[in-house]
């Protein structure tokens, strides 16, 4: 089976996010006075071939732990979607 994974990497709670803070300060200048809690992370998309959804998930989790995220400062969330083959 083929799955598309969407990995969202974000700062752990309590870790300073200078990009989010800067954007949050900029938005009121455009008239958006009602914005708070701006956080900026990364979105990584990849396709993985695996026997089933759970196998795909555990592989992508391992990728996150080893490379895609730095567990010292970052958290990650994984969304998996089964890709339907055209055939």
């Amino acid at each position: 089976m083929r799955y598309e994974a969407r990995v969202e990497v974000s700062h752990l709670p309590g870790i300073l996010d200078p990009q989010g803070a800067t954007v949050e300060r900029a938005l009121p200048a455009l008239g958006y006075e009602n914005v708070s809690a701006v956080r900026i992370g990364k979105c990584i998309r990849l396709t993985v071939d695996a026997p089933d959804l759970e196998a795909a998930r555990s592989q992508v989790e391992a990728m996150c732990e080893q490379l895609l995220a730095n567990p010292v400062i970052e958290a990650y969330e994984i969304e998996l979607t089964e890709l339907v083959s055209a055939g």
């Binding site: 300073l16 200078p18 490379l67 730095n70 010292v72």
Partner: protein
């Protein structure tokens, strides 16, 4: 016999020749080692210099950690050999978990390129053994992602074990506890954001980095004798 210093070169490393020149000037023998190598030759000490290893893609140091040479660097560190990471090299060492914590974007998203005052907080490391505790060194910094961060438990341990080797006198980047450099528990692996090699001659504006590089060469020399 002079101390042999392996200087690791990744694609994107750009401070290797500065380090080599400074090492030569202090009587050491530098040798550039490309990241695809699986051994460090007969090196007594290792320096991971500054730059943008593997383009800093994904995160600074994240991809460099998986270069073949890093297995040899980790083995050298595990056997007590001196390892120093400067700037991007510090980032590589934290990603490789040879040093605790991480380095993230500077507070205020400011790229800082200036000479700053750093206080020697601990001499219990291969990079600071010959420095005077409490002395203030003028060292250049040149980074966007130099704000040191770690969890509260790690910070407590770093303080209790005297592992914060350098602190900024005036914090330039939002670094936790003004940390400019840390060492591992054994004191043989050190990472710092300032560039001692760029402060290795009065002509460069400061020679305050000499005492740090001399400390490293002394540690390397002791390793050479023991071998």
């Amino acid at each position: 016999m002079s101390a042999r210093v392996a200087i690791v070169v990744f694609p994107g490393t750009n401070c290797e020749l500065d380090v080599a020149r400074a090492v030569t000037g202090l009587g050491g023998e530098p040798e550039l080692v490309f990241h695809t190598e699986t051994t460090l030759g007969n090196a007594d000490a290792v320096v991971i210099p500054g730059g943008f290893a593997h383009g800093d893609y994904l995160r600074t140091g994240a991809l460099a950690r998986f270069s073949p040479v890093m297995t040899a660097v980790a083995a050298h560190a595990a056997s007590g050999g001196p390892v120093v990471g400067i700037c991007n090299g510090f980032q590589v060492l934290t990603e490789a978990a040879l040093l605790p914590g991480a380095l993230q974007k500077n507070a205020g998203l400011k790229f800082r390129c200036e000479t700053v005052a750093c206080r020697v907080e601990s001499t219990r490391s291969v990079l600071t053994s010959r420095a005077r505790p409490g002395s203030v060194l003028r060292l250049p910094i040149n980074h966007f992602e130099g704000a040191y961060i770690c969890d509260p438990g790690t910070l407590e341990r770093l303080r209790a074990e005297d592992r914060i080797v350098l602190r900024y006198v005036e914090n330039p980047n939002g670094s936790l506890d003004d940390i400019a450099g840390v060492t591992n528990a054994a004191g043989n692996v050190v990472g710092l954001m300032p560039h001692p090699e760029r402060a290795s001659d009065p002509l460069l504006g400061s020679a305050d980095g000499v005492v740090l590089l001399e400390s490293l060469l002394v540690a390397a020399g002791e390793r050479a004798v023991a071998a």
